[in-house]
């Protein structure tokens, strides 16, 4: 970013700046009525002005909160900025949330004004009116189906804009002064962290923090006004807000809103973004789609695909990292790029992607490497709502599948003895809204934010997140034990569906394994192994061998990591049943409840540690049809090869 943005300490000021210096550069596009309707920065600024004046005329004051619920649409982002112009605080809510989930935020922030995308959202807000007496104005963007709604609270955005124009005619200077009043220290937005545990918390972020982080990352990746982003994740999620609001406002690039959730794929292909974010599950889904579609291809094509993907696995990543590659490899890759990678990037809509991020959960190495090998610069980052996202980012050329990279400029990191990651950064949140106690817990006197994530620095100083602190234990010898980390490593194998690792305060690590019925089933059919069901299949020696390979592969990796070399898996067994939320073995979000399982299957755990070769189980199982039955089986327990930390590389 060549231009000087100093003094532009709020988003509205940035907007007006862009409206001046690049009035006709596209600011935001939306696929509507069959084409990409485009707003330049000037147009966007006008929209914002009108909305802001309208809101003010309708009684929206400095410090008020504006609830915004809807999918990615130009108006939604315009509304966010309009609120900020008036010194108000936009509160984006998840558009897929049920009405009840909206009650708390609205009550919590005593919200009077709300902008809703369409009938669906309006209905939700009207539904909770009784619980939210404060909510007095609801503005809707898409009038479809709302013509007969007579509630006094309702008003269309068109109308609001007219009101705004009238107001401007009366007092043209009003808004400029309002914008001028704003300062970086003001709250810029409030994001409610999804309340999986306890009540949601409203994370308050200031203009300064958001702008600082957005700019730091933008400079690091040298984003410019020529970049293009497709906005397809919920605007209420901090990440989407950073990528499609904060960063475009500091760099002046263009964001594109898809026509609908169903058309994201094709819309992305049309737009061809240069800057792309996707959580691992999305990347996973894309890859699966690719594999499935390739299945139907002619034999020749499949062979070609397989061959060149092999080439890509060998040299693709290295080329992307600028590592030396032999001329032969380069030529082959070039050919592959013409025949496979290029077309593939094209159909995925990633031809022009020069920077892609993934984050949120651990990503499987194969998945991660696939995208990099076909020439997409996919990188991991680490951050959270409280930190305005950018804490760690993998710099170009230093990309690894199992770290999140070093700290971004301006961020201080340290680990507590308990290995908890602490952060101090200009991007840190101001407070949890109306929750000083929680704020104090999260942010200590010296301004360190306690992430609750456990990890450590790897040799290159990259941060490696292994688990939540509360789950991290230590082995008898005091070395680190991170069950979730092991379990994830195992789950990255297609044959492993769930894994439960034990070892806290024990001398060594042992695991339960849930094999993936579909994957192993197919595998068995290919080798025409006959089996009657899960239990039977699980008991096959071949299956055990298959799983053992996975376990030993994990051990090999672990041996390479000084910190974790001791948590190599010594013994494992394949459970006689699939872990099931209905049996309270998993949470509804399919997280293993380690403690509960430990108690429920105490017998098996004991067997793992007392060296028995097999153990008899009798268990209640609930079948798909809801009937319950008893099964009794002898589960075999096997040892897995472990590796000496030194010799790890050779053995692996």
């Amino acid at each position: 970013m060549s231009e000087n943005l100093s003094g532009l300490d709020t988003f509205p000021k940035l907007l007006m700046h862009h409206a001046r210096v690049r009035p006709d550069r596209p600011a935001i596009r939306e696929k509507d009525l069959g084409i990409w309707q485009t707003w330049g920065w000037h147009r966007l600024a006008d929209e914002v002005r009108a909305l802001a004046n309208g809101l003010a005329a309708r009684g929206f004051k400095r410090g008020d909160h504006l609830a915004i619920v809807g999918d990615n649409r130009p108006r939604v982002y315009a509304a966010i900025c309009a609120a900020q112009c008036l010194g108000g605080i936009p509160v984006p809510l998840y558009q897929d949330a049920i009405a009840a989930e909206m009650v708390f935020p609205i009550q919590n922030a005593e919200i009077e004004h709300a902008v809703a995308e369409d009938q669906e959202q309006v209905d939700k807000l009207l539904e909770i009116l009784p619980q939210c007496p404060s909510l007095r104005h609801v503005y809707f963007d898409d009038p479809r189906g709302l013509r007969n709604y007579t509630q006094p609270q309702l008003m269309s955005c068109e109308r609001l804009i007219e009101v705004g124009h009238d107001a401007m005619r009366r007092d043209a200077g009003f808004l400029e002064t309002e914008i001028a009043k704003g300062s970086g220290a003001d709250a810029a937005a409030m994001f409610f962290t999804s309340g999986t545990t306890g009540v949601p918390k409203g994370v308050v972020l200031t203009h300064a923090s958001l702008i600082d982080r957005a700019r730091a990352a933008a400079e690091m990746e040298s984003l410019s006004e020529s970049d293009v982003v497709i906005a397809y994740l919920p605007p209420a999620w901090i990440g989407q807000n950073i990528f499609s609001y904060a960063q475009p406002f500091v760099t002046g690039y263009c964001i594109c809103c898809p026509e609908s959730a169903e058309t994201v794929m094709s819309d992305m292909r049309e737009i061809g973004p240069t800057y792309y974010f996707a959580p691992p599950r999305v990347l996973e889904a894309l890859l699966t789609q690719v594999s499935i579609r390739m299945e139907d291809a002619s034999r020749l094509k499949r062979a070609m695909y397989r061959y060149f993907m092999g080439v890509a696995r060998r040299v693709g990543g290295m080329l992307l990292d600028g590592k030396p590659v032999g001329i032969g490899g380069r030529l082959l890759y070039a050919l592959g790029d013409l025949l496979v990678y290029g077309p593939l990037r094209n159909v995925l809509g990633m031809s022009r992607v020069r920077l892609a991020y993934t984050a949120g959960e651990a990503i499987g190495p194969d998945l991660f490497k696939f995208y990099r090998s076909i020439g997409i610069n996919l990188k991991q980052l680490y951050g959270s709502t409280e930190t305005s996202v950018f804490v760690c980012v993998q710099p170009n050329g230093q990309v690894k599948s199992d770290t999140v990279g070093p700290a971004v400029k301006g961020v201080e990191l340290k680990f507590t003895p308990e290995r908890e990651l602490l952060i101090r950064s200009p991007g840190l949140f101001k407070e949890y809204y109306k929750n000083p106690q929680a704020t104090a817990e999260a942010k200590d006197a010296q301004g360190w934010f306690h992430t609750g994530d456990a990890g450590y620095f790897d040799p290159e100083g990259h941060v490696k997140i292994i688990d939540r602190v509360k789950d991290v234990g230590s082995l008898a010898d005091g070395t680190l034990f991170a069950p979730k980390y092991l379990e994830n490593k195992l789950k990255f194998f297609p044959y492993v569906k769930e894994a439960v690792a034990f070892g806290d305060r024990r001398d060594r690590v042992c695991v339960f394994i849930n094999m993936d019925m579909d994957a192993v089933g197919n595998w068995a059919e290919k080798r025409n192994l006959a089996y009657s069901g899960y239990v039977d299949l699980a008991s096959h020696a071949e299956v055990y061998a298959l799983v053992r390979e996975c376990v030993e592969q994990v051990n090999a990796d672990l041996a390479a990591e000084a910190e974790l070399a001791n948590s190599q898996i010594h013994r494992f067994l394949i459970l006689h049943k699939e872990l099931d939320p209905d049996d309270e073995e998993l949470t509804r979000t399919r997280k293993v409840r380690r403690g509960f399982i430990g108690e429920k299957y105490a017998e098996l755990v004991a067997a793992l540690y007392d060296g028995r070769k097999s153990v008899h189980v009798e268990a209640q199982v609930r079948y798909e049809d809801g009937r319950t039955g008893k099964i009794s089986a002898d589960l075999r327990i096997e040892d897995a090869r472990t590796f000496a930390p030194a010799g790890a590389k050779k053995a692996a």
């Binding site: 084409i35 292909r269 013409l338």
Partner: protein, 358 residues
């Protein structure tokens, strides 16, 4: 495979409605035109330009005309050659009788006369459909040739009915060489193809197709049957007429009515069937196929006689050609009833989705 469309998005209906929405296509077409206009005249020899490319272009234009009528408006016609004849002889008369008229002008007049004849013989289409109409258009075929033979004025009293097309002069420059005639034809064909494409992608074209696909529904949404059908005949005949004029002036030179027999009508009909009914591109592909195949067969037979040094009687050659020709047509109809244009379309789709099959 070579299609890389990511990032080619449309932010206005103008972009979205253009003839070649995909960049790669635009580039390809531009290149093709460049070759046709510049490279070919430079490297093409007399024989190719005069005996192959020029007639190919002219017949493409005729096929295009027929395609407008049969492919788009769904009115089967066997009278193409007659419309071409009208164009040829009227253009001749225009040159002959209107002093100082530019050659293009007389081509247009030829086309317009053909259009009038087309409208007259299109009238039955208001009452009858399908093969009845097809046979009706045969009436046109025979009547027109008969008239040309019988009315001395048309052939300027030439006893044999043979006329000799005047020299082509454009802005004072005589166009005598094969290359010149080729370029003239190419220019006219290119422009008229563009006009046809525009027409077919606007209201008129949609009206034609509506009438073709379901005439009752068409009239229910307010499309006037009579106007639409007659317009289709008029436009189609105009194209055939101009093609006929070119046939006379740029290809044959001396023309007799028998140059425009039913066989020619069928030949053009073959072109659109092989090339693809209801496709501008198809008209060209079909014309290429039909004009090039006999040449190909000739070369093959020459090659055979040459290599095996055995005497092949002309009758033998021509008959074998007829058989192979007919056979190929049947073969084509069986393997791809929708014509070469469809084949191209399928290939293109595959290339766009590469490496995926669908």
């Amino acid at each position: 495979m070579l299609y890389r469309e990511a990032g080619q998005f449309k932010s206005s209906y103008a972009q979205d409605q253009q003839i070649f929405p995909i960049l790669q296509d635009r580039v390809g077409v531009a290149a093709l035109l460049a070759v046709a206009f510049v490279v070919v005249p430079l490297i093409g020899n007399q024989y190719w330009l005069q005996a192959i490319l020029t007639p190919f272009l002219i017949l493409s234009l005729a096929a295009l005309g027929l395609n407008i009528l049969t492919g788009y408006a769904g009115q089967l016609s066997l009278g193409t050659a007659a419309f071409m004849a009208v164009g040829a002889f009227m253009a001749y008369n225009a040159q002959l009788r209107i002093p100082g008229i530019p050659i293009i002008g007389s081509f247009v007049i030829g086309g317009l006369c053909a259009a009038v004849v087309g409208i007259v013989f299109g009238l039955p289409s208001l009452r009858i459909k399908g093969f009845y109409l097809a046979v009706a258009t045969l009436a046109c075929q025979f009547f027109v040739l008969w008239t040309i033979n019988r009315v001395p004025w048309i052939t300027n009293n030439s006893s044999s009915g043979v006329i000799t097309a005047q020299k082509i002069v454009i802005l004072g420059y005589p166009v005598a060489h094969a290359a010149g005639k080729y370029l003239l034809t190419l220019a006219i064909v290119a422009v008229m193809a563009l006009l046809a494409k525009n027409l077919m992608r606007s209201e008129t074209g949609r009206a034609f197709m509506a009438v073709r696909d379901m005439d009752v529904a068409a009239s229910v949404i307010g499309i006037p049957m009579m106007k639409t059908k007659l317009l289709a005949f008029a436009i189609s005949s105009f194209y055939c007429g101009v093609a006929g004029a070119l046939y006379a002036f740029c290809y044959l030179g001396t023309v007799e009515p028998e140059a425009f027999t039913l066989d020619l009508s069928f030949q053009v009909l073959f072109m659109i069937i092989i090339g693809g009914v209801g496709s501008i591109l198809g008209s060209f592909l079909g014309a290429a196929f039909i004009t090039l195949m006999p040449i190909f067969l000739n070369t093959v037979s020459d090659w055979i006689s040459g290599t095996f040094s055995l005497e092949i009687s002309h009758a033998l050659v021509s008959n074998t050609q007829a058989i192979i020709f007919g056979g190929l047509i049947i073969f084509f109809l069986i393997v791809e009833p929708n014509g070469l244009a469809r084949l191209w379309q399928i290939t293109k789709e595959k290339l766009r989705l590469w490496p995926f099959p669908h």
